[in-house]
């Protein structure tokens, strides 16, 4: 049995379903991110696991204990979890030491033990000697570290992170992110992290659960999600994509591949598992901007070639960020040519077969 097990977790507010029938299994020591746009239900799931929101139905088991089952819930204070809040929620009227020791005092531990534990934890988060400071005397990053120390103080079986990095500025965010992952891995802590930042999710997690409008879109490792997304939503959420919609060609031979006809052009790509070759099913082909090859002359190839005109180009981070408008398409494609493109120049875009992926247009719920 998994360390954490969630079955058919559901929550609605009035007529709006925020979380609909989520399933999840996690191994001990695993770090998982709940990723999705705002309003996708990720924070609601986290708060249901914490016990701050009562689910409408389903079950949550952690470490063999029932957090929620059959409408009965274990009170928050008895779940023995750690949580890091978005604004850190450090109690402003308590010192750093008092903040960290709060949970230990509730468990009536000896003052001597508490003192040792607090300095141990501050050592762990690289803030030794900060016991007597008040939260308002700390920088954002330091407050974050104290919040982490407080969450770890009671040796929780599970740590929940509610967008803990979003209040920090960009530079600090990267450092804190890496520190946090290393710390959790070293202590073999099971953690669930909520974020809307796909880069953060990819860099922090063993696995990611992508959510949209209360539904699970896909669960998998960062590589899985980036390379083999199952839906257009996941493909788009994990990074920039160029997308074409068309009719699936029923007669295409190769097993793992599928062909899509867009106007007169045929594009071939790797078929996602939900793409079943049926007559005239609508499908989408996508290719990441970095994978598109840009030619200045027609490569005289039958498939996966689209001709278009450069409509915009700008130099950024060492390369040419370029938009190419292909006839009959509503939006221009984003590509990174290896040469300096000219405005209005005609270019040929090659979508390499092995780098294209065919996805179902409508997601089977």
């Amino acid at each position: 049995m998994s360390f954490l097990e969630i079955r058919q977790l559901t929550k609605s507010y009035a007529a709006r379903t925020v979380v609909s029938g989520i399933d999840l299994n996690m191994a001990e020591g695993e770090i998982l991110s709940l990723l999705g746009p705002s309003g996708c239900g990720k924070t609601t799931i986290l708060r249901m696991i914490a016990g701050l929101i009562k689910p409408d139905g389903g079950a949550i088991h952690v470490g063999g204990r029932a957090f929620f089952e059959g409408g009965r819930e274990l009170p928050v204070e008895e779940r023995q979890i750690g949580m890091v809040f978005q604004d850190f929620a450090l109690w402003p009227h308590m010192t750093v030491a008092q903040n960290i020791a709060f949970g230990l005092r509730l468990r009536r531990q000896a003052e001597r033990t508490i003192k040792t534990r607090v300095s141990e934890l501050l050592e762990l988060v690289s803030l030794p000697g900060y016991e007597a400071r008040f939260p308002n005397q700390l920088s954002g990053g330091q407050q974050q570290r104290v919040a982490v120390a407080r969450a770890l103080a009671t040796e929780p079986t599970l740590v929940l992170l509610d967008e803990p990095l979003s209040s920090l500025d960009t530079g600090l965010r990267a450092t804190m992110r890496d520190d946090l992952v290393q710390l959790f891995k070293r202590l073999h802590i099971t953690a669930i992290n909520v974020t809307h930042d796909q880069e953060e999710a990819m860099l922090m997690s063993d696995r990611i659960m992508v959510l949209n409008q209360g539904h699970v879109q896909q669960v998998g490792t960062p590589t899985d999600l980036y390379v083999e997304p199952r839906t257009v939503f996941v493909a788009g959420f994990m990074g920039a994509i160029n997308l074409l919609n068309g009719a699936l060609q029923p007669t295409y031979g190769a097993r793992e591949q599928a062909a899509v006809k867009v106007h007169e052009t045929v594009l071939i790509g790797q078929a996602a598992p939900d793409v079943h070759v049926q007559d005239s099913m609508q499908a989408a082909v996508f290719c990441r901007p970095d994978d598109v090859r840009v030619h200045t002359a027609d490569p005289a190839q039958q498939t996966n070639i689209l001709a278009g005109k450069v409509t915009f180009t700008a130099f950024s981070a060492g390369r040419w960020r370029t938009f190419v408008q292909v006839g009959g398409q509503p939006d221009p494609f984003l590509v990174y040519p290896l040469f300096r493109p000219q405005l209005d120049q005609t270019v040929w875009l090659e979508w390499p077969v092995e780098r294209c992926r065919v996805l179902p247009v409508s997601f089977p719920v």
């Binding site: 750690g82 809040f85 308002n136």
Partner: protein, 607 residues
Amino acid sequence: MATRTVDSVDNRPAVTLSGILRRVLKALVIGLPIFALILLIFYPLAAITLQSIFPNLYAAKPDLTLQLGLIGQVLSQKRTYIAIFNTLWISITTAILTCTFGTLLAVLTERTNLPGRRVFRLLVWLVFFTPSYMLGEAWTLILIPGSLPDQYLHFSKTFIETFLSPLGVIIVLSLKAFPLTYLAVSAALQGLGSEFEDAAHVVGARTARVWLSINIPLLLPAIFAGGLLTFGDSISDFGTAATIAQNASVPLVTYQIYSAVYSSPVDFSQAATLSLVLFALTIGALFLQGRLLRARSFQVISGRTRPARRVTLKGWTLPAFAFCVALFALALFIPVLISVLTSLTHFLERGLVPSNLTLGNYTSVLQDNTNGAGALGRSFVLSLSAASIAGAVGLPIAFIIRRTTLPGRRLLSFLTVVTVAVPGLVLACGYIFAWNAPFLAAIGIGTPGGLRIYGTLWGLLAVYIASGLPLAARLGIGSLDQISQSLLDTARVHGASLLQLLTRIVAPLMRASLLSTWLLVFSGSMFALATSELLYPAGQPTAAVVIIKYFNDLRYSEGMALTVLTVIAVSIMLLLLRAIPWVVGHSLRRRAIRVNARAENAPIAEL
């Protein structure tokens, strides 16, 4: 500070005629409000200080004999220091009591599933607007021997002696003032999200522990601030001092000032010294309260707070509900009931029998053109004018202070801060010295045929405006700060003049706050007892003056009839002002729906 200037545009040298005109205009814009505040508030306050050290300055033959020791002399008189001592300990006790009641009520209505919490929230405002003299009178009429309740419940002597005492005064003051603490704490609670308590729950704290260790400590500054507000309110309260405190023979500073001015021999020195003491105490409380709110070492409002979860009361529901009902019964229902019943009886001592019930008190009061309807009408017109003028002048003052760089705006701001909590009685006392000074005759003030301020309705209007103006300005600043500067800049860029900016952009954006300010000054003036008592022109009393006069003449039924009529008048204005925006908003919405419907039915080509 985001105070970019409104007038920074014209930095060019003023050599042209229009440049000079501009400068004059600018001087007037800042000069007039300062001049008005000085005349209305500062000069009278200064007069009190002058009176207490130059006792002969305001005599018929003024001279500048300095008597610095006079303040000490007055303070060492027994009746002076007894009054100060009483006022201090009674107000401190009141502040502590209101902190308890107000906080408890705020927590119960804001953070629990208490049944009827919405109604209680509304009732707080009714208590807030109730005049303290009404509460004082009603409770006196309950506690005096032979009162309506006494006729049926037969209070024991000990019961009456227990409550017709400083204890009763404290209770009445607390019942009147707890809304101030309530409002301070509930505002803090609304800014206190659930994150801090969630964090405590997660590490294993139960609800009671969360409140004791997290929420209450975080609310302490707000609770103290509320306590200081009620302290300031209680020391300067005259309505209670003139009613139940009189009947309980508890001399308080406010009443002592009143009797120093109005009973012979007149003792201006005592009035001036006590006024100074009162003023110093109020300013002290206000200053401390401001410090407390600013110097909070922690920022509670993070802007990203989640709405807090309500505590389920379970077994505590009944006691909590009973507490709220009892509180409002004592502060509102019972006093109102007694007031209404008293106003309906011929003779109080005959009790509630059909033959003793009458509407005669109302008809006789309404037919009395000097004391009854006349007084009410006078109060009404004066309050209407005072509220409108204070609102109309307060908004530009707030604007000048916050959104211009005119020189002198800091002085203006300072003047409004210092005078915002001047007790009405102190101000009125200052008016007596300041505008009745014989030496003013030299410039034609106070002479027959000259400009007469003291002893006229104009003087009364001036003091009502003076009580409301600083409040209007400070409240205006509060709501002006919520308006983004870019909204005003945009209007300037589009070519709006200062006046257009105020009338077309600022006033509409602040209409809700302007309305509440207007209501506050209006009801404050309608119920103004202290200022009216000291300054009403002979033969032209206001409603509050007449009510207290009836009360002192033991004509309780007529007094209560007039009280009820005054309350009804204020309630009607309150309802009207609340209803107008609703009606306008409603009709606008209906029009929008009609227009939309028409647009939807119209052929697309027409769009």
